[in-house]
């Protein structure tokens, strides 16, 4: 097919929007940690733009979207961008340059790795994190992206619906984060000492960039500048709104309506609508958003307060649980009237779709947990995942990066 200028413009803009989400995550996470770990937390996300951005063009794109091998992984026929040029691919996004589709996908891989880091901030060794990230992209992200989105991927063949990455990005990152938390243990002092956020306005700025960038993430996943993109755009905004509002009310019923809770709700709403955005009617985003706020809120209460897991910035509760609910919700609310390439969900007589979605949750979640555990263990016994006691106490900004976020008294 010839290149469509409208579609290409939208996909390139969307790629740029999704790129901005990674600095967004950096600020979102950076504001929530203690003052001594701001830079290290920001760095964990920002470094992904360097590391994953390179690995993706070298071989990551190829392992994800190259010629199929038994439904499980791509071949190396696109390694080093071989055969990826200005002409459209014959199977993916056939109206935009293959290079545009490739770089749009690169941004998803980058942010997925960045999301995981929120669970292990304030104690993970930076060098170990880089090695783990490279291994995780190769062994976990690329296969899972191939299963769900690759031509011939086994979950794609099964008929699993994942519009923009509920399973590939959010369940994958959330479950992997939980595995790392179990390997790495709690931060020193958790939960007896308060771990106070250093800068909540920065968290809000990060959440704002995430919400903004998410339009590229979801509406861009239409891979065309069309009506479906508009539908996904509206669903995305509506779910974020419903979840932000719901979390605010729940927080208010507890005591006061917190801004930290409200922006967390917005992110949970964006997570849950991700797999559904281009398959469900826009108004389905209201129940999807309301339920995700409740699911994520009470997951956080259970995991952190009741069970004492130090998933420091609640990556499993928001992305794992939000992604799981989003995958199920896609099976419930999907409609062929919205997207003829999708399916009818439970509400439209297609109950089988819920089972397919459930299969994707179990497959992606189970694989991500097991593979992350093994990779994390390997890094731990070779170079060690965790910083020393003294380094943790003085803070990772100084001990890992030799910098501090704010200058001292002397000007």
């Amino acid at each position: 097919m010839p290149v469509s200028s409208g579609d290409t413009a939208w996909i390139l803009i969307s790629a740029a929007l999704v790129m901005l989400m990674t600095p967004g995550v950096a600020l979102f996470y950076g504001g929530m940690v203690r003052r001594k770990n701001i830079l290290s937390t920001i760095m964990m996300s920002f470094a992904c733009l360097g590391l994953i951005g390179l690995l993706w063009v070298l071989y990551g794109y190829s392992l994800s979207f190259g010629s199929d091998n038994g439904g499980f992984i791509g071949s190396l026929n696109f390694a080093g961008l071989m055969n990826v040029g200005q002409e459209p691919s014959s199977v993916y996004a056939t109206t935009v340059p293959h290079l545009a589709f490739m770089i749009f996908q690169a941004m998803f891989a980058i942010i997925t790795v960045a999301l995981i880091t929120g669970a292990i901030v304030e104690r993970v060794k930076f060098g170990a994190l880089l090695i783990f990230s490279a291994l995780w992209l190769t062994v976990v992200y690329c296969p899972v992206a191939h299963w769900v989105w690759g031509d011939g991927g086994w979950l794609a063949n099964l008929g699993v619906l994942d519009f923009a990455g509920g399973a590939v990005v959010h369940i994958n990152a959330g479950v992997s984060a939980l595995a790392l938390v179990m390997l790495l243990g709690r931060r020193r002092g958790f939960p007896s000492e308060p771990m106070e956020a250093n800068n909540i306005p920065m968290v809000v700025l990060g959440a704002g960039l995430l919400w903004f960038g998410w339009f590229g993430f979801n509406a861009g996943s239409s891979l065309a500048s069309d009506g479906l993109a508009a539908s996904a755009f509206v669903a995305t905004n509506t779910s974020a709104a419903a979840a932000a509002f719901t979390w605010m009310i729940v927080s208010w019923l507890h005591r006061r309506p917190t801004i930290l809770g409200t922006v967390t709700g917005a992110v949970a709403g964006l997570v849950a609508i991700t797999p559904a955005a281009g398959f469900v009617p826009p108004l389905a985003a209201i129940p999807i958003g309301i339920v995700t706020a409740l699911v994520c809120y009470y997951s956080m209460v259970l995991l952190k307060i009741k069970l004492g897991f130090d998933d420091s910035l609640d990556v499993f509760a928001v992305h794992g649980m939000g992604g799981i609910w989003g995958a199920l919700a896609t099976g419930i609310f999907a409609s062929l009237a919205v997207n003829s390439a999708g399916a009818d969900g439970l509400l439209y007589g297609g109950g089988i779709q819920v089972l397919k979605q459930l299969a994707s949750i179990v497959a992606v979640g189970g694989f991500a947990f097991a593979a992350t555990w093994i990779l994390g263990k390997l890094v731990d016994i070779t170079i060690g995942l965790r910083v020393g006691q003294k380094e943790e106490t003085v803070g990772l900004d100084l001990s890992q990066h030799g910098e501090r976020a704010y200058g001292g008294l002397l000007r």
Partner: protein, 112 residues
Amino acid sequence: MKKIEAIIREERLDAVKKALEEHSYFGMTVSEVSGRGKQKGIPLQWRVGEYRVDLLPKLKIELVILDEDVPIAIDAIVRNARTGEIGDGKIFVLPVESVVRVRTGDRDENAI
């Protein structure tokens, strides 16, 4: 000469400053401090649940005055810093050995 160190609530600064001014005590140093006393701390909220912050933000006012002015200054501070609730703060009075005005080199009483 005595130094008065008063720990007060942030929101009482303007009233205290004004009262001291009325008695012609203009010179002072104010700093943001954290501390605790009988107030014990306040609960804050996280995404879910609460945590306690036990060092609360207060302001510290420091001024150096003549011995005979101490009761007036203390009275001005107490009357304007007091709310009656726990957490109103404390006043410390310390002896001062010597004072030098940097610009002129004036000493002691002449430098206050």
